[in-house]
């Protein structure tokens, strides 16, 4: 599979701040790629380099087979972008902005425009200055989703949407799967979990993890709680089992996903009455990468 976006060793500094510090990112053609990171980690900077709005200080970036800085205008015909903070012209209506951006990208799917306006419940006749943050985002989303392009770059596109509209958004992106490549920057983990084939987690301008959710889960723990028929059997001695709590015949523990199999065998040998197992959430993945960022109180 070819890469729609491939970035390696990207560096971008603003004065003394190093916004990108050797960032790597590969987005395969046709996938929905989640781009995760806390505020200020460099997500938007990466996207703006990919759009040719910023010039990288070092590293390479390839977008749809071209150079994002040199071939900007030609590449932009093939992509649509939704900025994190959508700012509209106060005197243009939402409908006018959708048409304008669509035309500037080189074409708009009329049918899709209509359907999306309906689904997002957006009144296209309102002036830009009268829209709320969520409605401004809807304008940009409709313009992007109705555009006839192969790559969608969405920078925290749902930060102002209500849960109903968030669902509409997820539905719309679901429909794009396979037809277009999507780079979705977000810190709404449920959204990324629901939509993305692969994820890259960045921190301080560097990629710390990249892969499918299954691959990433592999690196972390599953929580298990069970009610057993007898006393637990040698669980404590098993490798990979953590935080074991035994309360009579009830057990609770976390286990490295690699060692899940052995742990379950140990449970079965005691007889299992009830069992709940919870795969690691993205939250846990995420927190695991950031927990050492919170200042330590004691050494």
């Amino acid at each position: 599979m070819t890469a729609a976006i491939s970035v390696s060793g990207l560096v971008k500094t603003f004065g003394p701040t190093r916004a990108l510090d050797g960032l790597d990112l590969t987005v395969r053609e046709g996938e929905v790629h989640g781009f995760l990171g806390p505020n200020g980690s460099g997500k938007s900077t990466t996207i703006r380099v990919l759009l040719g709005l910023l010039r990288a200080d070092a590293g390479t970036a390839t977008l749809l087979g071209g150079d994002p800085w040199r071939d900007a205008a030609a590449l932009h015909r093939r992509l649509a972008y939704v900025p994190g903070d959508v700012s509209l012209w106060p005197n243009l209506t939402g409908g006018e902005v959708i048409d304008l951006l669509g035309r500037l990208r080189g074409g708009l799917d009329e049918k899709r425009r209509k359907v999306l306006l309906d689904r997002f419940e957006l009144d296209p006749r309102k002036k830009g200055r009268t829209y709320s943050k969520g409605n401004r985002q809807k304008v940009a989303l409709v313009a992007a989703l109705a555009s006839d392009v192969e790559l969608l770059i969405l920078d925290e596109p749902t930060s102002g949407l209500d849960p109903l509209m968030e669902a509409v958004f997820q539905e719309a992106v679901e429909e794009e799967r396979g037809r277009r490549t999507v780079l979705l920057s977000s810190h709404i983990l449920a959204e990324v979990e629901a939509l993305c084939d692969r994820v890259s987690i960045i921190r301080n301008g560097r990629t710390v993890e990249s892969g499918t959710l299954a691959e990433l889960r592999h690196l972390t723990r599953t929580s298990v709680s069970a009610e057993l028929a007898g006393a637990p059997n040698g669980l404590a001695a098993l490798p990979g089992v953590h935080d074991l709590k035994v309360d009579g015949q009830r057990v609770r523990f976390e286990v490295d996903t690699d060692h899940l199999d052995q742990a379950l065998r140990a449970l079965v040998s005691s007889g299992v009455r009830t069992l709940t197992s919870q795969p690691p959430t993205l939250e846990e993945l995420f927190l695991r990468h950031y927990e050492d960022e919170t200042p330590k109180v004691s050494s």
């Binding site: 992509l79 409908g95 006018e96 002036k127």
Partner: protein
């Protein structure tokens, strides 16, 4: 009103650079002008000479108003700098008020403040207080400075407080304008329009002559600055008019604030079209949509200004026919040309400077689009950076030709109708107005250069424009060296009609402007957006 003082402190903190620049700038220009005049017109005889010649020159009457006292330096200063100084302080006042009221509301920052313990009227009160105090400070500093230069105390305070009064009235105008619309840009445009009308009313009134509608000057707050007659009569009660009008305007603004929602304007917003017209499909289409209102406004305004000045031209001739001695003096002043041409050339010079304001606004629109994150989504489409810049620069470069042609047309139509040669005068005056285009292009070039290379300093373009205005208005009077005067592109424009239309300086100005534009665009294509 709770929280007014806290907001005032916040405003002072935000403006800790801007405010001193305005205060020191305005006081500095005024006092250095007075001091230089003191050296130039040291003797009573010299002062009498300028009083008799310049004080009755109709071009000067229309631009500056009459001279009431030419026996003192203060009196000459009040005449030469009164209207322009008042114009600048009025601009300061209206910018300050909009900046701290409507602009804050538009960005949503006021919402943050409104949710704290601040009264509904506190933001308006703080902005008005800030602007009124700044105006008062400028007026008092000028008065004290003039006394220090040896001028009479009464006249010095009359002139200083006349400047203050202009600042106060336009504090009120800005406060009301900020309530009317939802955008600070439109608010400033409305207040600027009022300022333009005020300037025009007094121009017509002052140049009208004894038989004409001289009372028009009384309708203009800028006219009141002259009518105080500082150093001549010191008519303090005229200042009372300004105070009264200020109170009425600020009161009206306070009533308007109380009667509306936060962020809402008074002028209603209606629903617009759901689809974009076919014209809105390219970078140029977007720029046309964003720039057309301003272009139309300036074209109409300068057409009217041209027509008003044109209407006075005939009176100039009459006045001179009745006074052969003055005619002789004027032809010495204006060189070889006919008297009326000297007049027309000098008003076209002023119009050329005004049109440069339009050009700076048109170019700075680029920076506003960029800073407000509206450029980004457009540049993320197939629009090239070059096309995006060019789509706006076209309005600055060709738009200014339209604006100046309209001014020439207005002057030509009215003056032509009066002298019975419409076709000839229109052609002559449109041509003469267009001769200023290359100088204005240089201003556009400077603005674009700053935008391309130092985007955060783009608004410094205004400083260049003010410098050119000061050089043009005060330079010759202060007897500055020619090289200093030559720094302003407007110095190099031949004084048409009347003088020969020399092509060489126009070509050079165009070359310089083109170089600035090229460097600016080149810089923009290489830099980061944002």
């Amino acid at each position: 009103m709770t929280g007014t003082l806290a907001l005032l402190r916040l405003a002072l903190r935000r403006d800790r650079l801007l405010l001193p620049v305005w205060v020191i700038g305005l006081v500095g220009i005024t006092l250095s002008t007075a001091s230089a005049m003191g050296e130039l017109y040291g003797t009573e005889a010299l002062r009498q000479q300028i009083g008799v010649t310049a004080g009755s020159n109709p071009a000067f009457l229309a631009m500056l108003g009459p001279i009431y006292d030419y026996t003192t330096i203060g009196g000459i200063l009040a005449w030469r700098w009164g209207v322009f100084g008042a114009l600048l302080i009025a601009l300061m006042a209206m910018f300050l008020v909009t900046r701290h009221t409507r602009a804050e509301e538009e960005t949503g920052r006021l919402e943050l403040i409104g949710s704290t313990v601040t009264g509904r009227h506190a933001p308006l009160a703080a902005a008005v207080l800030l602007s009124a105090l700044a105006s008062l400070l400028i007026g008092v500093l000028i008065a004290v400075g003039l006394i220090g230069l040896g001028e009479g105390a009464s006249g010095s305070f009359a002139l200083g407080l006349a400047f203050t009064s202009a600042g106060w009235v336009f504090t009120g105008v800005g406060a009301v304008a900020a309530q009317l619309t939802e955008s600070s840009r439109t608010g400033n445009a409305i207040a600027g329009g009022v300022l333009g009308v005020a300037y025009l009313l007094r121009a017509v009134g002052d140049a009208a002559g004894d038989a004409g509608p001289q009372w028009l000057t009384w309708l203009s707050p800028l006219g009141w600055v002259e009518l105080v007659q500082a150093f001549a009569d010191d008519r303090w009660w005229v200042l009372g008019l300004s105070v009264l009008l200020t109170v009425v305007l600020v009161g009206a603004a306070a009533v308007l604030v109380a009667g509306r929602d936060l962020t809402a304007g008074l002028l209603p917003t209606r629903l617009g079209p759901a689809r974009a017209p076919a014209s809105l499909g390219s970078a140029f289409g977007l720029a046309w949509r964003l720039q057309r209102g301003m272009l139309l406004g300036w074209t109409l305004s300068l057409f009217v200004l041209g027509a008003v000045y044109g209407a006075v031209a005939r009176a100039v001739e009459d006045m001179l026919k009745a006074n052969p001695a003055l005619e002789k003096v004027m032809s010495q002043l204006g060189g070889s040309g006919q008297i009326v041409d000297v007049y027309l050339a000098s008003i076209l010079g002023i119009i050329g400077l005004f049109s440069a304001i339009y050009v700076v606004q048109a170019v700075l629109r680029l920076r506003a689009e960029e800073a407000d994150f509206r450029a980004e989504p457009v540049l993320a489409t197939s629009v090239r950076r070059l096309s995006w810049v060019a789509s706006h620069v076209v309005f600055a470069t060709l738009g200014v030709a339209v604006v100046l042609a309209a001014a020439g047309l207005g002057a030509g139509l009215v003056h032509g109708a009066r002298v019975g040669d419409v076709g000839g005068q229109v052609a002559r005056l449109v041509g003469s107005a267009l001769a200023h285009v290359p100088a204005v292009w240089v201003v556009a070039g400077i603005a674009l250069l700053l935008f391309g290379l130092f985007p955060k300093l783009a608004s410094m373009s205004w400083a260049f424009l003010v410098a050119f205005l000061v050089l043009g208005q005060l330079g010759p009077l202060l007897d500055l060296d020619q090289w200093a005067l030559d720094l302003s592109p407007f110095t190099h424009i031949p004084k048409v009609p009347g003088a020969d239309l020399a092509a060489t300086p126009l070509v050079w100005l165009t070359v310089v402007a083109a170089a600035f534009v090229a460097v600016g665009i080149g810089g923009f294509r290489r830099r980061d957006i944002g």
